[in-house]
Symmetry: C2
Subunit: 648 residues, 2 copies
């Protein structure tokens, strides 16, 4: 595709697909008002539009060509995008919200995002005042380009087992950094492979032969003059991934790398010149930072899901296939109940997850303010909620995006549909920043403590009051007798609480019985892990019908009540279907950001698929080089054999 | 990676990971015997080994480098692999089984597989004897390289609406082929884009202004001399896909392309010289061909799943992370119950699906023999079973492979893990050769007919006898009173039949009620589509616990019985865990075929991850070109600003 074409490609055509236009005309609400609510306010909508205009005026952010880019080109574009955002951020004095919005508009396809997301915040959190004065300006002016190197090839979840060492050498007043085994190499940190010249490295601190546990160190990786790796440093990219290939996730092997004693971060602990280790205790604010990352992941989960829902809904309205009655015009595929069952849960969950993320963010803000004032009382509840919601929402998003992909039929398999890349980009959400099964278990531990409190009548945390109300002997019966009852939110809440209560207390009971029967506590925990994880998943189940087993086995609902719920679900689905297009339009995703031939605003699906096919690298020539190398010989041989046969 | 290194890369090391070795030593059965059963016989195992030796002696089939290949290179390798297989097939006189086995060993990464899978069989099925005599030798000697062009950009499922036309021109005794609209271009056929010089094109036959419906035509696409597209032909690749990028799925636009009248396939219908249309009726054997493709997909589903299970099980045994009790050695992650719940269902389903595929293939063989003898009685039941199983197995495989990927943690996201590519390669199974929702509905239609028969006491098809036994008034109670009862296969079968009976007859009842209340039949069908699809999914549910809702809502099991089933499931899981490694070893997948650093036989996971990282294109130079283009300026500017500030 020529450069001029590329630029025009994502401009919406004035010729909108008539099926899409019709859906928009019949909207039962004001789309723009909903957009303001989603953005946060009319002002935030305005700000987003300003940033869209800024970003998409730069060719690198309009990369329609990325469908067939090589890894090196993808990486280079990611670097360029990072630097553009850095420049603008400084020039226009962006706040954190602006920077995050811009990253989102760039689809998070930026190589060096850790500079502002982790490297600078970590210096602020971990460095002494003297260190801050020295390092922060260098990081803020991008002389230091940095990453945060924690995970190792053999160690992710269990930080205590990290093998990298920092051994104090009192003679030369230095630390000697080492990666003693294959499994100890740092592995995964973003921008570590090729971009960064500096890393914050987590290592076991060894002083006079004694291990003082994990501490952070500032380690120069590459020359500030020519970017070559420094002596003893072996560093590189860990290879292509399912997606996010603009990021040079890296490995790092250190062999007797010497850094000054002053490069140990000294806010929380210190090694003195004469080799004394001084600890000032762990800062609770560190936990809050970890929690914040999980809160942000629930936001990304919403963003990915709303992208997928937009593409699947719009395409399902444009695509017509078969008819229910022979001879009638082909039906929009969204009118098939089976298609609604694939697509509408993603739409519904998008809105649910937006609201959940907001309420979680409010809890975070309030707990964070408490911590700053010295009160850490709510930290454990925040930790439980953010762990469980990060795990649950990422799990559901991966499942629902796959359904959106399937709802796009064969075309969903094309890179130009955008939806495969969306699935691949969202895939790591379930393993990063706390592997989901581990997070569910952390939440389950907290839940079990709440149950123990409830049993003896002690007060429980605010989110777990249902443990008290549901266990009381005069709890009301669940009243589902007809379809209307199924629409009553109080009743539905009661249903969820009743089910949650049974699952949570059931898991606690099994655990207790195992321990009483003489099984060691940790073995009992493992033998009941599946029950415990089911317990931790309680509060965000996206549908009774979808998770029928929980409600029927506990038993919270009778089979008859369950049938009513299912019927009500189908009824609700038909209503949502009517407004499906306005509901995705309200996300107001720019076509460049969505980057999908199937999901574009104007619905000119087939024209765009065809236009994007032209950009395939195989189409650079009419006759592909593979013909001359391989196919020509095959055909010519065949012709020769046929001539010989005909002569015989 | 140097060429010499590449060759040695997948050779298993004599140094086997000790955890993996220990698992093998404690196997409770003879792995080799199970391998023979999986292959079919000791002879088939031997044959497989011979083919492995042949294939993997060719560098192109050992492509460890493909992790970072460009699309053009992937395509060229796919072409070369096709041609190698063609040559060997001829030279060594392979039968169909050999060819399929070789394709599997090549991971189906072959560009021109349609030549033998569809092009030649279609000529045999559709051409008159004269045509066969003319075309078959040219196809068998690869002068004609062909594809089968049916699907259009706007039309997949509903063939009747295909828009391509073939208009008879009696003056010149030719057909004029046209693609009248954007949506009418042929889109998706494999090898159409760049490789094929000939296509079998499905088009609406127009004679004297009258449409005679869809018929196949042989259309030359490219010059036999230099491969350039012929006049009026516009042909090319449709762009990169989530995977399977060695295949040049193509588009084809025809503008007044003239072909001789004799190029219409004439076995089933004909247009005479003077423009008379003669139909000889539809050949039932055509349906059998469509069914065979679905049977083959259930085989691919098994192959993909056993690949994923092998990688996930072996890695879960090598990977150690955290411990249940502080201070103890880190645990193999497969010892966590939560990990077992992710990985072991894939292992169990692999075996279940292998057996299901075999039994389905036997049914196909017997029905096919019947058809050849003129008896089409069992075709409808075969159609129902193959539709439902293709849909169900592909659906489950996509879900379980995703769980296998998640079970590999962060490393599963790396291309070198092989598992992302495996997921992406298997993704289209749910939409190709009959979109799953459509197939489920076809099965549901047949089921509803069986119910109608059962109601009036007419005999039902052999697979649906449970409709009679379960509806009888003296059906026995389900006897699940303790854990041992849960292991009784007859009892489990009864549980499934009871549940299936309730779901199927429930759906039929709802449909009937809607029709009786005056709703048109096709509307009633659509409004009950979700129930109907649930009905069609009945016979291969991979676990009662997983699909609890069905068993409890119907109600087949009481909540107490269900609890017993779940406890039995956890007990069974612990048993399977013991033999997990021998059970995946029995699949005997060659390391080259598996192509996974995490799943390799010797378990040297970390060494291989690191070795493969070296092959990343970003690591070609120590300092990436992006530094000179972009990063250097950023750093130098930062240094300048810092110097200026320090001067002030």
């Amino acid at each position: 595709m020529a450069a001029a074409n590329r630029d025009a490609f994502w401009a919406p055509s004035s010729k909108v697909n008539p099926d899409l236009a019709r859906e928009r005309e019949s909207a039962t609400f004001d789309v723009r008002e909903l957009t303001h609510i989603i953005d946060g306010s009319p002002d935030r909508t305005k700000r987003r539009k300003e940033l869209e205009n800024l970003l998409y005026s730069e060719p690198v952010f309009r990369d329609v060509g990325r469908l067939s880019m090589e890894r090196d080109e993808i990486y280079e574009q990611g670097v360029l995008k990072s630097i553009k955002l850095f420049e603008w951020s400084r020039k226009y004095k962006w706040d954190d919200d602006d920077f995050e919005l811009a990253s989102r508009l760039a689809n998070h396809d930026i190589s060096m995002s850790l500079q502002h997301a982790m490297f600078i915040p970590a210096i602020e959190r971990l460095a002494s005042d003297t260190q801050k004065a020295k390092w922060l300006p260098r990081a803020l002016h991008y002389e230091m380009i940095g990453t945060y190197a924690q995970t190792e090839l053999g160690h992710g979840t269990n930080l205590m087992e990290l093998e990298t060492t920092a051994t104090f050498d009192p003679e030369r007043n230095e630390f000697i950094m080492n990666s003693p085994t294959v499994t100890s190499m740092k592995w995964w940190p973003g921008a570590l492979g090729k971009s960064s010249n500096t890393a914050i490295v987590l290592a076991q601190l060894i002083v006079k032969g004694k291990n003082h546990g994990l501490h952070p160190f500032l380690v120069p990786l590459r020359s500030m003059e020519d970017h070559t790796p420094l002596p003893g440093i072996s560093v590189g990219d860990i290879g292509p991934k399912m997606a996010l290939n603009c990021i040079d996730n890296g490995f790092l092997i250190m062999k007797n790398v010497r850094i000054p004693r002053e490069n140990m971060f000294m806010k929380n602990a210190e090694v003195t010149r004469d080799g004394r280790f001084i600890s000032r205790g762990v800062d609770k604010a560190n936990y809050a930072t970890m929690v914040l990352v999980r809160v942000k992941i629930t936001r990304w989960a919403f963003e990915s899901l709303s992208d997928g829902a937009t593409t699947a809904v719009r395409y399902s309205v444009v695509r017509r296939q078969s008819s229910l009655k022979p001879g009638e015009r082909e039906l929009q595929v969204l009118d098939y109940q089976s298609q609604q069952y694939k697509v509408l849960p993603a739409l519904a969950a998008s809105y649910a997850f937006l609201m959940t993320n907001r309420s979680l963010h409010r809890l975070y803000d309030s707990v964070h303010a408490d911590i700053m004032a010295g009160n850490t009382k709510l930290l454990a509840e925040l930790h439980c909620q953010s762990s469980a919601l990060k795990a649950y929402m990422s799990e559901v998003v991966v499942q629902l995006l796959e359904l959106c992909r399937q709802a796009c039929g064969g075309h969903g398999y094309l890179a130009s549909s955008g939806i495969g890349l969306l699935c691949a980009s969202s895939a790591p959400l379930v393993t990063v920043e706390g592997e989901n099964s581990v997070l569910y278990q952390q939440a389950a531990r907290y839940l079990m403590k709440q149950v123990a409190k409830a049993v003896v009548g002690d007060p429980v945390a605010s989110g777990f009051q249902y443990l008290l109300t549901q266990s009381s002997s005069d709890r009301p019966d669940i009243r589902i007798q007809n379809l209307a009852d199924c629409g009553n939110l109080d009743t539905l809440l009661q249903v969820y609480q009743r089910m949650a209560f049974s699952v949570v207390t059931g898991a606690a009971r099994k655990l207790q019985m195992a321990i009483e029967s003489g099984v060691e506590q940790h073995v009992a925990w493992n033998n009941n892990m599946v029950s415990l994880i089911q317990a931790a998943r309680f509060y965000a189940l996206h549908g009774i019908a979808k998770e029928a087993g929980y409600f029927l086995a506990t038993p919270t609902l009778t089979p008859d009540q369950f049938e009513l719920v299912r019927a009500a679900e189908l009824q609700a689905m038909a209503k949502v279907r009517h407004d499906a297009v306005p509901l995705v339009d309200a996300f107001d995703l720019h076509d460049i950001c969505l980057h999908s031939a199937l999901g574009c605003y104007d619905g000119n699906v087939y024209e765009r698929l065809y236009a994007l096919a032209q950009t395939s690298s195989l189409n650079k020539t009419q006759v592909h080089p593979a013909y001359y190398k391989h196919i020509r010989g095959l055909v010519k041989d065949g012709q020769k054999q046929l001539r010989q046969q005909s002569k015989l």
